[in-house]
Amino acid sequence: MDEMGGSTGHRASSGRTTSGLVRLQDRLASVLITSGGMAVLLAMLGICVFLVVSAAPLFAGGKLLGEIARYQIGDASPAWMSVDTSFDRLIALDDDGIFRVHDLHSGELLTQQPALENSEIPASINPEAGEGWLTITTDTGAFELVRPALTWEPVEQADDAQSELTENGSFVQSFEDGSLRRWTLDIERKGPFRLSDTALAVDSKGKTQRERSFAAIDNIGLVTGRLSGRRALGGKVRFRVSIDDFGLDAAALGGIPDWVFATGDGRWVYAVWKSGRITAIDREATDAALRILEASASDGAPSIPITTAVMSLGSQTLLVGDAQGGVAGWAVYGKPERLRQRLHQRIGTSAVTMIRPGDRDRTIVVGFADTSAVMFNQLSRKRIVTVHPDNFAPLASVAGSPGSDAIVLVDTQGTASVFGVEPGHVESSFAALFGKIPYEGYDEPVYVYQSTGSASAEPKYSLVPLIFGTLKATVVAMLFAVPLAVLAAIYSGEFLSNRVRKYVKPTIELMASLPSVVLGFMAAMLVAPFVRDQLPRVLVLAATGPMVVILAAHAWRMIPRNKRARLGPAGQFAMIVLATVAGVLLAIPAGGTVERLFFAPGSGAAPSIRGWLDGDFGGPMPGWTIAAFPITAALLLLIDATLLSPMWRSATRRWRNALGGLGAHAIEFFRLLFNLAAAGVFAYIVASVLSAMGFDPRDSIFGPFSQRNTLVVGLIMGIAVIPIIYTIAEDAIRSVPGSLRSASLGVGATPWQTAVRVVLPVAASGIFSAIMVGLGRAVGETMIVLMATGNTPEMSLNIFSGFRTLAANIAVELPEAPTASTHYRVLFLCGLVLFAMTLVINTSAEFVRQHFRKKNAAL
């Protein structure tokens, strides 16, 4: 720290001493500057730490707060129960057929009401998660739909009669601020509906308010049908039972199933046997042979005995628990439709005895034979907490609170145990954020980003589409920017006179400071409509530009040397300008020609490349040809320059001997034309092969055209990064020692050979790091992407479609995300991923630069 000696003449030889104040100042400055410097650097590293800290809770499990209450809730044990939303009441349907409301913390019985109209005893209960309906069957062969609901109204005075009020299902609760509320337990009922004289197990699920489907098993077999409601006189809805015209008896089913469930859409009925067999019955199948879909081993069917089954939230997925502690999710989906396994996870060690699906999200509570229970999320596969109450009889019922902040367990002796939970972010896990998830409503596991959700369509937070969008935009931008910037840097570093360079470089650098919001605005307002209107011309420009320039260069070489010399470097520069302009101008007619040749629908209608992209007409050929041409051309030129070069050289020599200098140029010219023609032919061949194999580019790199697309963003983002790449690459080229150039020229190399074989290899590390810096900039660019794309998080390679990048996603969604919610943290994770990407890019650039600097140090 102190190699320079801060308090200089502390006690100098002359005997004079430095004033204490000066020393204090020096000391203070040293402390302040050191701590200030350190603080600045720490603050910058703090960003990384803050991002990590903000995103980390996404991956953490839940926290168990311990058993917060234990009490006896009565002699009867509940067959089903639910925790009220405000987390202080427990509604239990006991096996004597009575709904009882208890205070969750004390266990005090607040009120009770019989579940069924005639106070019958239920035989089986099937809940409909999320909707609150319970399908309850009785021993008399009827079933009834029941929905308990707690409502409240403010009251003035508690009066006398809490016990009296309990009679009609209400109770009064006082709050700390002295206000009173009267809570009422209302039971909504539909039915009873009579199907048979014997005992039944029935499940019913609602499609709409007025239409429900049901499935029932009795001792003969399976009965399915629907309940349809009609508004009767007096506004009351009456339901009528209609039974499907097919019946499945035990023989057809292969035995009486132990559980049966109807799906919410009314089409499927799932039948489950304790042996482990699961089938799906298609109620809409017209052919009896196709009616029953059997779960097969290839779809993950287990041979383990099934111990419990229930329908998940949304009434699409069947959840089964097995004897080994595993939980599996089953549903009919995919193409072709089959009964497939969505989920299989072993989450406990003993047999699963019950599964209680969540009413708000896909978090379930699973009870086990060893009296433990696990809170588990179906989508993130995250085991949130495990609870294991001491001294507990076998579980009778389990329930989680709607916000996943409590688990209630009741044993067969009526002992209730309440556990508090801090659930954390149940929907996010590494698998959910980066993996394919089998969401309901999709044919296969997918990467989806969709941050708004509802009870049945949960928010989907896969970052993969965003990362894909980021990379797609970056790659297209770099494809455009890197060649232009690096070639420009070579010219201005090697061939441009200092006088001109002095003006050229700052002009391009000025462009680097152009705010990206301006570029984004121009992209959306000017470039996007321009590209839409002039698409063939813009695409063709990529070929005509370089071609015209190259041809012009050949033509220039054919001018006799003395005439060229008269024009001088300025003349040559002017010629290059002219050639470039000509290349651009040529694109105008050439674009139309290409469109007419390749993209005409044939029936005399106007040729339209956008029509072809939309798939209105035409085959895959033109697209493949155009996509293959640049690749074959580059390959052929490369092969030509390396393998065939000696052949051409001898040919050149022969022609020069025969015809003089002009002949040599003619052969060069011919060589170029030959290469291009060959490239065209090869491209055609490649295209034919690919087309014959049945590939269509419109499924991958091309596709329907949307105005704000990847190409536009690539062009504008390219413009944004060109100056950065250019400046750094140019500096790298200029910093190559002049002695190397002199030596190379001295031994007879041409300036071009010097540039390519001597200067470029030395400057390569600098150029690489220039490209990496540009890449880093493109990855994080926000405004251009935000303004020039539709910001749809889709994953397609199509360069004419929109996308959404990580940065744009943050900009769009962060202002609306509630602090510390899952969404907020997912956005911080986006930021962290972005940070990590740029970190890797920049560090590798730095690393390469350091490495090559050492290597080149000898020069």
Partner: protein, 767 residues
């Protein structure tokens, strides 16, 4: 091609094949450079031309269509288009009727774009008119363009100025429904209407046409417009600033009462105010004694010990003063609360009376404003510009027309004058009600304040960090790691800084300022043990520094003991600072400065200009550090050695020799940071830029600079106006102007930085 090439050719022509010259490749590279340059030039040209042309007064054209419809509009250019199917039929009919020539080979037709205005009477802002539908185009001299504050421009023909008055007369006199009346503004024919009659008095409303026809109307307008504009300005000032100010004061009173109520819950401090003041004063005194002792030339061990003790006690006292509850939060007694409430009630009454007075003034002024009306007629729709869209039968008030422009009779100098006036309006006025008009004054103020705040923050930090890196830190693995970190952070996307700003500055730091540490105070530890630990660590650090530093003629020996002592002391100091920060952060006595407004109205715990400036400061820190470091390293080592050799201390050397020499570099860094800050948008979207800020971040009320307020920013304004506004089409011309302004500012700053940099002493002096 340069000279060398020609030289090589002269000798080696024969054996050099043409491919060796790589002419096509060289041309390609040249062409790439030209393309890059062209991109720059074209971009700048587009921005400049679009931005400059927007405010230029265009002529008003009257277009008569084949359908007989008449449009008055500003021509905005033309384009070729391919007619749609129904248009093709129409064209075919016209061609068949011989009214139209056959189209060219490609079947395209010309169409013209007009800006129409008059949106409040149902016109589109812009229309495309196919050329073949136009019968005639001309530029009527009496057409005017009306600039208004609401609903954008209106184009029409001025028809009349009407004064509406109410008068009373005796009911017995004969009622004269028409006649000539004179008003304070002029005399003209009147239409009179009886609106009430009672007690023999008749109340009559008269509409007096004091000007009739375009010329007269314009003349009258220019005569009397001034006083109306003044009155309008007064009304606006009342509505926009004076009444809100009264409302703000009322709200502040409510908050004060709430604060007092909250503070009654707090137990009074155990430390009485005199004790607190005593401790604070004595720590200041001890500090002064300690500093005074430093001036002693001969230091005996006793003096050194006393000195250290003084400083220690001073710092302990200061910690106590900071951590102990500040005087203002010493709990509020119920009597005091009653007093506060009573006082608040009195103030409220005063303010309400004041507010009523202002409202009455507005009513009076508006009544006067209502009297004079201006009739400007859209000849196509034969409707006049209404006062409000909901009152189509009432002509606009004269004061609603900010300016009447008779575009077609304006000479060139008039146009130039108008153009400049419009630029001035654009720069000095707030945004209008509709996105297409108004100015950017608050936007510029927001941008400037933000940029200045950012510069004030980032420059000291950056310079300190650069000095540390160049002059203090030993050059080794640590510094090169730090340099890599800085390089990396320069490449971190700006949106990530925005997230950090939102999460850390706004929510964490701002939340702390608002509400204090809340429940999250020190865990189970007795609080005083931490202070004791702090003092012990501090003493250790001080002692070790003394041991490590004050030995031998050269500061700090190179012995092992000194080295260990120095490094331990450094860590102790760091620990000390960390512990002190933690203590301050978790002090249970700090209840936040603005807790009374929570949770409805966070003050600093939300987005605001201060946090935006800090975020951008962090973002631009690498720029300043790199520029300053470069400049410092360019200061020749000989200058430093000379200074040190003359006996200056290190700090003196830095302050008097190094920093002045490096000043241009620091300035360059600052300007580059400003340019970056002015042009950055993405992070601002997250930390405080808004579409329409109700107030400026600076004002005449204390504390003058309001760090908690949201603000408007040029870059965000472009994004917002061009993409988020309901009528993006109408807003586009102004977006171009705003873009030009932003680009001019950013590029100007960059050019300035380049200019300064070019005058920097070239590197190579070395150390």
């Amino acid at each position: 091609m340069n000279r060398q090439a020609t030289k090589t050719q002269t000798h080696k022509e024969r054996s050099t094949p043409p491919s060796a010259h790589g002419e096509p490749a060289v041309w390609l590279t040249g062409s790439a450079l030209i393309t890059c340059l062209a991109l720059v030039v074209v971009t700048m040209f587009i921005i400049a031309s679009n931005g400059l042309v927007t405010l230029w007064p265009r002529p008003i054209e009257r277009i008569t269509l084949r359908s007989g419809e008449i449009l008055l509009g500003l021509p905005m250019g033309s384009e070729q288009f391919t007619p749609a199917e129904q248009d093709s039929q129409r064209i075919a009919e016209l061609v068949a009727a011989g009214d139209l020539e056959q189209a060219g080979e490609d079947g395209t037709r010309t169409r013209l774009r007009f800006r129409l205005g008059n949106r409040d009477i149902g016109r589109d802002a812009f229309v495309w008119v196919p050329e073949y539908e136009i019968v005639s185009r001309d530029r009527p001299e009496d057409a005017v363009l009306v600039e208004r504050d609401e609903w954008g421009i209106f184009i029409g023909v001025p028809e009349a100025v009407i004064v509406r008055t109410r008068s009373t007369e005796s009911a017995s006199s004969q009622f004269n429904p028409a006649g000539t009346l004179s008003t304070e503004f002029g005399t003209g024919p009147a239409l009179r209407e009886v609106v009430g009659e009672s007690d023999g008095i008749r109340t009559v409303d008269s509409a007096v046409r004091i000007a009739q026809g375009p010329a007269e109307t314009l003349e009258t307008y220019s005569e009397i417009h001034g006083s109306f504009a003044k009155r309008r300005a007064r009304i606006r000032a009342l509505q926009k600033s004076e009444i809100p100010s009264v409302q703000d004061k009322l709200a502040a009173i409510d908050w004060r009462v709430r604060r007092a109520q909250m503070d009654t819950d707090i137990k009074p401090s155990r430390v009485t105010v005199p004790v607190w003041i005593g401790v604070a004063m004595s720590s200041v005194g001890l500090g002064a004694v300690g500093v005074g002792l430093l001036r002693r030339k001969h230091v005996t061990p006793l003096i050194a010990a006393v000195r250290t003790l003084c400083v220690l006690l001073a710092i302990a006292g200061a910690m106590f003063a900071v951590l102990e509850r500040p005087i203002a939060r010493g709990g509020v007694s119920t009597e005091r609360l009653a007093e506060v409430v009573a006082q608040a009630d009195a103030q409220r009454q005063d303010l309400r009376a004041q507010g009523d007075g202002l409202l009455a003034e507005i009513r009076t002024l508006e009544a006067a404003d209502e009297t004079v009306r201006l009739e400007i007629i859209d000849p196509g729709l034969s409707r006049f510009a209404p006062a409000e869209q909901s009152r189509p039968d009432t002509p606009m008030r004269l004061s609603q027309a900010r300016r009447l422009i008779q575009s077609n009779t304006l000479g060139f100098s008039g146009r130039v004058r108008l153009y400049l006036t419009r630029w001035w309006d654009f720069l000095s006025r707030p945004p209008g009600e509709s996105p297409g008009d108004g100015g950017v004054f608050p936007v510029i103020v927001g941008t400037v304040v933000l940029t200045l705040l950012l510069t004030v923050t980032v420059v000291p930090l950056g310079v300190v960090a650069a000095i540390y890196l160049r002059e203090y830190a030993s050059q080794g693995i640590v510094t090169s790691a730090i340099r890599i970190a800085i390089n990396n952070l320069a490449g971190v996307p700006s949106i990530v800084y925005g997230m950090f700003g939102l999460g850390f500055f706004c929510y964490t730091l701002g939340g702390y300022v608002d509400a204090g540490p809340g429940e999250a105070a020190i865990g189970g530890m007795p609080w005083w043990t931490l202070i004791v630990t702090l003092i012990l660590v501090f003493a250790l650090a001080a002692a070790l520094s003394a041991v490590g530093a004050d030995r031998g003629p050269v500061k700090g020996g190179n012995g092992l003991w000194s080295k260990v002592a120095r490094s331990v002391s450094l860590w102790s100091w760091l620990g000390c600072a960390g512990l002190a920060g933690y203590l301050i952060w978790t002090t249970p006595y700090f209840g936040g400065f603005f807790a009374e407004k929570l949770p409805q109205q966070p003050t600093f715990g939300t987005r605001g200009i201060l946090w935006a400036a800090l975020t951008l400061a962090l973002l631009t820190l690498p720029v300043v550090i790199v520029a300053t470091e470069e400049a410092i390293s360019a200061v020749p080592g000989s200058m430093r050695e000379g200074s040190l050799g003359c006996g200056a201390s290190r700090w003196q050397t830095i302050r008097r020799i190094v920093l002045p020499a490096a000043m241009p570099g620091v300035l360059t860094g600052a300007i580059l940071a400003m340019a970056r800050g002015a042009g950055e948008v993405a992070p601002l979207m997250l930390v405080g830029a808004v579409n329409l800020a109700p107030t400026l971040p600076v004002s005449g009320d204390a504390p003058f600079l309001h760090g908690d307020r949201t603000f408007m920013h040029l870059g965000f304004h472009i994004y917002n106006l061009g993409f988020q506004s309901p009528d993006a089409e109408a807003a586009r011309p102004l977006v171009w102007t705003t873009t030009l302004l932003l680009v001019a500012i950013v590029l100007g700053l960059n050019l300035f930085a380049m200019h300064i940099r070019s005058r920097l002493p070239s590197r190579g002096g070395g150390i």
